[in-house]
């Protein structure tokens, strides 16, 4: 309507030219532009996924196809002996990795304990940081932000010395404690933002009805943020599941070692069992990929709220 009232002829022409430009832009863009974007997205995704595809494909190949030139993309006769071998089940092969399943068991113990310990410590801390104002709150938050950036290598040297002194060397507990220290700061930051989304009124109602704060937290608030609790729990689990440097340094006994150390048993002096190693790696990667597919939204909002905002 406004354009109709423009008196100046030059203004009119300029406006007309601009509109033409816009129209041709929209006419040109969709067809060619969308096809181009699709192609670019497809190529980028394909290149990115190639290593993972190669891992799974190799794990299923018969020995003859692993070293084939040109490389075989999809195994012609998939075999799962590599998976049996990776978890220590008997196969027709000369190599026997009897400790395969043990590594997974150890990793599970370490990861599950880390998850429980992280949640137990993070929930009350995050709750306090979201509900109360108190002296030292800002410093504590700042400490958390810096703490989640500390490198594992920086911790592993003093912790090794301390664990030796307190006889925690060669125990699962040593790795669980160290892994929890890695997961906890991030867990608190994420849970704090989810507590913010629960209205205070809900809590006050509970308090007026005579419940204690802990009861309100346990029976009213935690069920409401269970999606975040699951995400934080899975995140802590995964932090410990594949953790490498603490396990490498604190666990010298093979029967205590997790998957991140166990994977090296397939590298031999003269020969590396690539298919078994890739089968083992696939099994290690599965929980991480599955978790990401199901919890993508929570993980992404957690990362963005925890690090950029």
């Amino acid at each position: 309507m406004k354009e109709a009232h423009v008196e100046s002829s030059s203004g009119c022409i300029m406006g007309f030219v601009r509109r033409i430009q816009l129209v041709t832009h929209w006419m040109r863009m969709p067809q060619a532009g969308i096809a181009l974007r699709f192609a670019m997205g497809f190529i980028a995704t394909a290149i990115y996924l190639m290593p993972l595809f190669w891992m799974v494909s190799t794990s299923l190949k018969p020995q003859s196809e692993i070293f084939h030139t040109p490389p075989v993309l999809i195994p012609s006769h998939p075999q799962i002996d590599s998976y049996r071998s990776a978890v220590g089940l008997p196969t027709n092969r000369p190599e026997l990795y009897i400790t395969g399943a043990l590594y997974f068991k150890n990793s599970f113990i370490i990861a599950a304990s880390t998850m429980l310990l992280t949640l137990a410590l993070a929930i009350p801390a995050a709750y306090a940081l979201s509900r109360f104002n108190f002296r030292g709150k800002t410093i504590f938050m700042l400490f958390l932000l810096v703490a989640q950036m500390l490198p594992g290598v920086l911790l592993v040297i003093p912790l090794f010395v301390l664990f030796k002194m307190f006889s925690l060397y060669n125990t699962h507990l040593s790795v669980i404690l160290a892994d929890t220290a890695l997961a906890l700061p991030f867990a608190i930051i994420i849970l704090r933002t989810s507590f913010f989304q629960i209205p205070d009124a809900l809590e006050e109602a509970g308090l007026i009805d005579g419940a204690t704060r802990l009861q309100v937290l346990w029976y009213i608030i935690l069920p409401l943020i269970r999606a975040s609790l699951v995400a934080v729990g899975v995140f802590s689990f995964l932090t410990a599941w594949g953790e490498f440097v603490f396990a490498l340094s604190f666990l010298a006994k093979p029967e205590l070692q997790p998957i991140s150390i166990g994977v090296f048993q397939f590298i031999g002096m003269y020969k590396t069992q690539w298919d078994t190693m890739m089968a083992f790696s696939t099994l290690v990667a599965i929980p991480a990929v599955v978790a990401l597919l199901f919890l993508q939204r929570q993980f992404i909002s957690g990362l963005t709220s925890g690090s950029v905002k």
Partner: protein, 309 residues
Amino acid sequence: MAFSSIGNDIKDIKASFFKGKLTPYFYILPSGLFLFVVLGFPILYSVFMSFQKYTLETLVSRQTQFIGFKNYFDVLGDPAFATALQHSLVFTIASIFFQFTIGLGLAILFSKAFPLSNMMRGLLLSGWQIPSVVTGTLFLFLFNLDYGLINFVLTSLHIIAEPIGWIVQSDTALPAVIIANVWLGIPFNLILLSAGVMGLPEDVYEAATVDGANGLQKLIYITIPLLKSTILAVLMLGFIYTLRVFDLIWIITKGGPGSATEVLPTFAYRLSFINFNFGRSAAVSVIMLLILLGGAILYLRAITEEERL
């Protein structure tokens, strides 16, 4: 002044106790104590160790000997430290450059609608939580001299004439671990930059299109300036997370061949767990910590700036 303020503090705390204002501290205490014991104290202990003659014997006798800055002078005078520092800088800058460029390109691509874009973006994130031990063994296989996929692709495309012994050759080992690390870091950059790109106002781009700006001009004059604080935060986080990378390098090359991929974390680890010179290793850790703290301060400044906007 100081005394009266301490007096007031004590009064405050007393008053708080009776009014239930100490409650927040009960919630914070478990996490605070845990993080102090497993994170804060080890860091302090590292600083302490860096001023001592601290070797394997010390671990047994528990008799430390103060030697002032000798560890620092030894480290700074060691050509191996200079090499590790240089590799760390090359590794970090090159990794960030490619991760960030690819991440930003993909974030812009996926901010526009095209078929299957959501699915592709989801798949591009699938490797995000995969343990670096899996990435490590996977790239160990991909970079293999005789039957690695990367050599096959590059020779087929005639980019290289002969297969390269990527990780066994000293001039290609560092590029190889950088490539593996770039792959590992793409999801992280994509997520954080996507969040920023999605929040950009669309009308600015429409106006620019009308004014005849091309894609590159829009990127340089609109996207990058508007995303300034997000970009700064992503770069600083990238710097912190990349400088501390240990597991990926240790798994693929152990810092070798020779010292071709020795970075500060692997150098510190080697000093402790192979040479058993914990004091000198702690000195390297403290130097690394100072560099990281510099990065953390810049990062915190970047995110607080964003909050103000």
